[in-house]
Symmetry: C2
Subunit: 259 residues, 2 copies
């Protein structure tokens, strides 16, 4: 179809372009996932960050941190020790904030159905704040996001507001979150592989049946069930944390999940 061809052209164009990030390359921790997605005709990634600990110096003119006037004192995709943060904090003259940012991935999808499969896998792997965006002209993106963050103000106008002991304590938590994030990425990779294999099998079965029966309605009967495939690869079920959006503290209506 025209739409599929247009998607293919976009994909070739985007993947052919230079990487415009500060770093200039895909993070190691996300590389497998990015490769797996870009290897399938129905997907391509437009941005990715595997997860990182960041120390920002921001909000020099008030609390609100603006992108334009905040600067990175430290960025690491690996576990982090107290001394690194303390050294970096010496350069702060505004309000320094330590953050742990889990995986963020933006994936352009050929059609809504492709986004739905990926979304379902992302949610099941623990990336519960993921969501689809559909543009005015039909551009379909999935943003993969987690609830699993950390955002801690450390200094005010250059003055450290916490003890070194606290920074040590905080980094243990941040490193643990990084470890958990890594597990979720692995889970996502495995679940996605299962879901895509399953889809390929059912797709080719569907095509055979079309040949046999010469009945095009079969293409719409593809059975897509990433959760079932996922059941095999989920080892831990700690995705439902306190950060749960559907926490009972919210005004909430329960309805059957299958609708």
């Amino acid at each position: 179809t025209d739409r599929a061809a247009e998607f293919g052209r976009w994909k070739a164009q985007c993947l052919g372009r230079a990487d415009l990030s500060r770093k200039g390359s895909v993070d190691e921790g996300a590389a497998g996932l990015v490769q797996l997605l870009n290897g399938r005709e129905q997907y391509f990634t437009t941005s990715s960050c595997a997860g990182r600990i960041v120390l920002l110096d921001g909000g020099i003119n008030g609390f609100e941190v603006q992108k334009q006037n905040c600067c990175w004192l430290l960025v690491t995709h690996k576990p982090c020790v107290k001394d690194d943060v303390i050294a970096a904090l010496k350069k702060a003259n505004g309000d320094a904030i330590l953050k742990f940012e889990p995986l963020v991935l933006h994936v352009q999808c050929r059609q809504l159905q492709d986004a739905q499969i990926l979304h379902s896998v992302a949610i099941d792997s623990g990336f519960r704040n993921s969501g689809i965006t559909v543009g005015k002209r039909g551009k379909t993106m999935l943003a993969v996001r987690s609830t699993h963050g950390l955002e801690v103000p450390l200094s005010h106008k250059g003055k450290l507001m916490v003890t070194e002991e606290y920074i040590d304590f905080l980094l243990k938590i941040a490193n643990q979150k990084m470890e958990e994030n890594k597990k979720r990425i692995e889970r996502f990779y495995n679940c996605l592989q299962h879901a895509l294999e399953k889809e390929t099998i059912t797709n080719s079965h569907a095509k055979e049946k079309i040949k046999d029966k010469n009945n095009s309605s079969y293409t719409h009967k593809k059975k897509r069930n990433p959760e079932a495939a996922c059941g095999k690869c989920i080892t831990e079920e700690n995705a439902k944390e306190c950060e749960n959006d559907d926490d009972l503290g919210m005004s909430v209506t329960i309805f059957p999940e299958d609708y």
Copy 2:
């Protein structure tokens, strides 16, 4: 259509049910928005939280906070003072965490197009982590989420890890975020009203044209442009913070926004 009728039945059923949240009612700060949405046939809200400061006692058996073994020491939808938090912290015997959680709203939408309009308004109002979910049988939800959070570990095994001065500093930031969240909700409300009015006008024009020309293709030519309507009501343009997903730190490809 069948689908619209099914949506209508669901809506009546869900809104007729008891509110199952701990609180049992819609937060004051979200009530206007919830009312506006539920008053339109194409939407209904399934859960909402206007934004709150929460002190959790969690992670007694390790760092990972599980929903089942975490308890709320303090929840407030209003600005919060140091003494409240310090009093609540006395009851902590695990790892207490202070969080600011901005507005979260789940809205079921009649069709994808309705979700797209709402999504666009949400993003333009500063709720940049919003996203659409489409279920297997077509249930279409928009989750309205912000990047504008705070998550700060305060104690470890019941022992306070920060000073009272720090708690005071932290609450100023949390209260400021609550204030900003309130502004965004107002902006969301105003933008949504504009977008829905505009839609109603273009819809009724479209219907008139159908009558005139007896040409049903006109219904697909509705001009939907919430951003233009939004332009009028956005006073501050501080939505693009450091928390930006598309931060240059990520591996990123830029492409035209209009696609």
